[in-house]
């Protein structure tokens, strides 16, 4: 599959800003299933851009304007390809006691310590665990059920939480956005000895729709013998070709798409972000579309659409799997 991604941030300030630094973590990760063919990052002041890497090795862009200013906007454009992922590759419903022995071993805990430790944004006491894992089930099934449980139990609602909301606060509120769903998921997975990392990226929600003007977040968990697999608790999805990964970290603070340090006499400012993800044909010309006018579908509806589609897929897989199991039983 081919995607075009457009990220835009517009900042206007009431008082002139004397000095400012920004850092952007927006470029889709280069990995086995993703490849960025063309990328462009511009800003309205035409300030030079620094390329660096963050602490997890993901490429970042930095902007440090040399002159005072009242407004600045940034735009990132990417044309990339993403492999269609076989959803069967992730399935693993056979409980393997050795996996549970492995994840409880000291060496495993040491090697995956970075994604097993709690951080302020993923803090939850063992006694507060609202969802129980069972060793009778596979790790994958436990995580799938956790994914579903988080999705069902909490309401997707903007403006009730912010980037500093903790899982405990999210539990109390009962509503939040994708990073809250993800932080709670991470906290529960980690307390069950499963290495889990915060993942930021873009969600393709079908053509003709603009995004929710935000980047998306989900969790990646390490499953023995399988490796890292993405779970999207905000939508109850397994991350496949519609989830375009940018970066991972311990929690949101490692993956913030934009970080800014502003030195100004007035803190008052207006900021707006938009994100657009569109599928494209490989034969489409390599230009960045400027004005796409589509009627946006309300976000909840988009999610419902997405979720429905993937649930169907998942149920089909499960049925097929059961059928295969049944066939095997018969053969025995």
């Amino acid at each position: 599959m081919e995607y075009t991604i457009k990220y835009k941030a517009v900042n206007t300030y009431e008082a002139t800003v004397d000095e400012a630094f920004w850092q952007f973590l927006l470029r889709p990760e280069e990995n086995k299933t993703q490849h960025v063919r063309i990328s462009r990052f511009t800003n309205s002041l035409n300030t030079g851009i620094d390329i660096s890497t963050n602490t997890f090795g993901f490429p970042i862009c930095r902007v440090h304007p040399k002159k005072p200013f009242d407004a600045i906007s940034f735009e990132a454009n990417y044309i990339m390809s993403k492999e269609v992922i076989n959803p069967f590759s992730a399935l693993d419903s056979v409980a393997n006691p050795e996996h549970y022995i492995l994840i409880k071993s000291l060496n495993f805990k040491i090697d995956y310590e970075r994604f097993l430790s709690t951080t302020p944004l993923t803090q939850l006491e063992k006694t507060q665990l609202p969802f129980q894992f069972s060793e009778e089930r596979s790790i994958f099934d436990n995580l799938t059920e956790l994914n579903e449980w988080v999705h069902k139990t909490f309401t997707f609602k903007t403006s009730v939480t912010d980037v500093n909301t903790t899982p405990v606060q999210f539990l109390e509120k009962g509503a939040g956005v994708c990073q809250d769903f993800t932080h709670l998921f991470l906290a529960i997975a980690r307390l069950n000895n499963i290495p889990a990392r915060y993942t930021s990226g873009y969600l393709h929600q079908g053509n003709g729709y603009q995004g929710d003007s935000q980047m998306h977040a989900w969790a990646e968990c390490y499953i023995p013998e399988k490796g890292w697999l993405g779970f999207d608790p905000a939508n109850n999805l397994i991350a496949l070709e519609n989830h375009i990964k940018v970066a991972h970290g311990q929690d949101y603070s490692d993956c913030a798409p934009i970080k800014g340090i502003i030195y100004s006499n007035s803190a008052a400012n207006k900021t707006s972000y938009t994100v657009e993800v569109n599928a494209r044909a490989e034969s489409d010309p390599d230009v960045f579309s400027e004005n796409q006018l589509f009627e946006p579908l309300p976000f909840k509806q988009q999610l419902a659409f997405q979720s429905q589609w993937q649930n169907q897929q998942y149920q089909q897989q499960q049925q097929l799997r059961q059928q295969l199991d049944a066939d095997e039983d018969q053969a025995l």
């Binding site: 630094f21 660096s52 890497t53 440090h64 000291l106 970075r114 430790s117 311990q250």
Partner: protein
């Protein structure tokens, strides 16, 4: 004893419970102090009152003050300086020097291991929780190789002498320990006030510290740099240790900068100068980890340099000390220091650790519960002296209460024997005479690439309140010049 001698030492208590640095058990002056004692005894208490004023004036004239904040106003105060120096002979000093060097090296190996393979945890010597639960363990440091492989370039190990006459380590400070400027200024003040006395002893200089610090900084320069540009970064003039920051920069002949004087471009650090930007290679930072880089750590930090951490990660600049050393100098890790030294260096520890009982171990828990009155019980994870109970100061009911608290969660507590700090003759303004007061010793050890240095001297801190064991300057402590004798 002459009459004057009696008068200036008239109110000196000799308490056999404590080790006395000046007098032996029979009340005779120790050999190393004899010359000093004879010279002092020839003066009257009026002379000492005058000398005391002279020494104080020397501190004000050198500008060595620290700020004390009260309700509304900030007061400039001098760190009280004592006229009676501490003298350490060569033999005793050699043990201290080898001992603190050994600890600094072991800690450096330990930090490297924790941010790389964590072998010491895999071997079961140090528990994983001990590290990951520390707020000062920075996951950002995982896998980073600092220039020269050095993390704790500067270590300040605090020692006390117990009633048994042996040195014990109280703690290691590897988060940019302060106090070295006082060591040097104490020497200057003492020489001004009492040159006739200093002259009778052959003591090592302490003013070579700055030169050695600069050499250590230059030894950990980034790859490909011939003549490194070194700077000292300070939080600013309002910081209580600002004097020290400016003193060190001045005596090393390097720039003293604040965060806003530096900027990062393409992962290189530059300093704004009137001649344009100038590259910076080694930074002695007196800013806490959390404030170093607002893009990586606390975003509200106005003291740091945006992008500094990624320049460090790339190896384009060296930070002295490295970020993330703080997990290794905390109380819980301290108790593992003998094992840490043995594991990395294959040596027996030269300096004693205060023996620690881990309440998580059943037989040690039993001992602790039976001996609460003779022990100091400390929670493992609290800092700043909270939750500490000192056994011999507790009532019977309080002892029972402490026992119950320990039994409820034994893993949370450690216990140590009650240590007594040695006493030293100290000039007391109110009585215009020398009295015995408790002292400790902060040493300064430097590690670089193929270079190491221990300052021959140190900061002897003294508790000026009678009977007080707390020597911190914020608690009314003063300091003494410390002479290490040449062979």
């Amino acid at each position: 004893m002459s009459i004057t001698q009696q008068s200036i030492f008239a109110s000196y208590d000799k308490d056999p419970k404590f080790y006395d640095e000046i007098f032996d058990e029979k009340g005779n002056v120790k050999k190393v102090y004899q010359t000093l004692f004879d010279l002092y005894s020839g003066h009257s208490s009026q002379d000492f009152a005058k000398l005391n004023d002279k020494a104080k004036a020397s501190f004000f004239n050198q500008g060595i003050t620290f700020q004390v904040y009260t309700d509304q106003e900030a007061k400039e105060k001098i760190f009280p300086f004592d006229l009676f120096p501490r003298i350490i002979d060569t033999k005793e000093w050699d043990v201290i020097e080898q001992g603190v060097l050994q600890r600094s090296k072991a800690l450096n190996h330990f930090i490297w291991d924790i941010y790389h393979d964590k072998k010491i945890i895999k071997q079961g010597i140090v528990p994983l929780d001990l590290i990951t639960s520390s707020a000062n363990y920075l996951h950002q440091m995982i896998g980073i190789d600092p220039p020269g492989g050095i993390y704790n370039h500067i270590s300040g190990t605090d020692l006390i002498k117990h009633a048994d006459g042996k040195y014990y380590v109280l703690e290691d400070n590897i988060r940019c320990p302060s106090g070295v400027s006082y060591v040097i200024c104490n020497r200057t003040a003492l020489k001004r006030a009492l040159f006739g006395v200093f002259n009778h002893y052959n003591a090592h200089t302490v003013t070579d510290y700055a030169q050695n610090l600069l050499e250590i900084m230059e030894s950990v320069k980034p790859r490909g740099v011939d003549e490194p540009n070194c700077v000292v970064i300070t939080p600013g003039v309002y910081n209580s240790a600002y004097y020290e920051h400016s003193y060190l920069a001045k005596s090393m002949g390097v720039e003293l900068v604040e965060g806003r004087d530096l900027f990062v471009e393409n992962d290189f650090v530059y300093m704004q100068t009137i001649k344009g930007p100038e590259r910076v290679d080694v930074i002695y930072r007196r800013i806490d980890d959390a404030f170093l880089d607002p893009l990586e750590f606390r975003p509200d930090s106005a003291l740091g340099v945006p992008g500094l951490f990624s320049a460090y990660k790339k190896g384009n600049v060296c930070l002295v000390n490295a970020p993330g050393t703080g997990f290794a100098d905390d109380k819980a890790v301290y108790t593992y220091m003998p094992e840490i030294i043995k594991y990395y260096l294959g040596e027996e520890p030269i300096l004693n650790n205060v023996h620690t009982y881990h309440c998580s171990r059943p037989d040690e828990l039993k001992y602790v519960l039976e001996n609460v009155d003779k022990l100091v019980v400390k929670p493992v994870d609290e800092a700043g002296g909270y939750g500490i109970s000192i056994g011999n100061r507790l009532t019977k009911e309080e002892i029972e209460k402490v026992k119950k608290t320990i039994q409820a969660s034994p893993r949370k507590y450690i216990a140590q024997p009650i240590m007594s700090l040695s006493v030293h003759a100290t000039y007391i303004e109110e009585s215009e005479s020398f009295e015995s007061r408790h002292v400790d010793l902060r040493t300064f050890c430097l590690l670089g690439a193929d270079k190491e240095f221990v300052l021959k001297g140190g900061l002897t801190r003294v508790a000026l309140k009678k009977g007080n064991l707390i020597v911190n300057s914020s608690q009314g402590g003063g300091s003494k010049d410390t002479w290490v004798l040449k062979k």
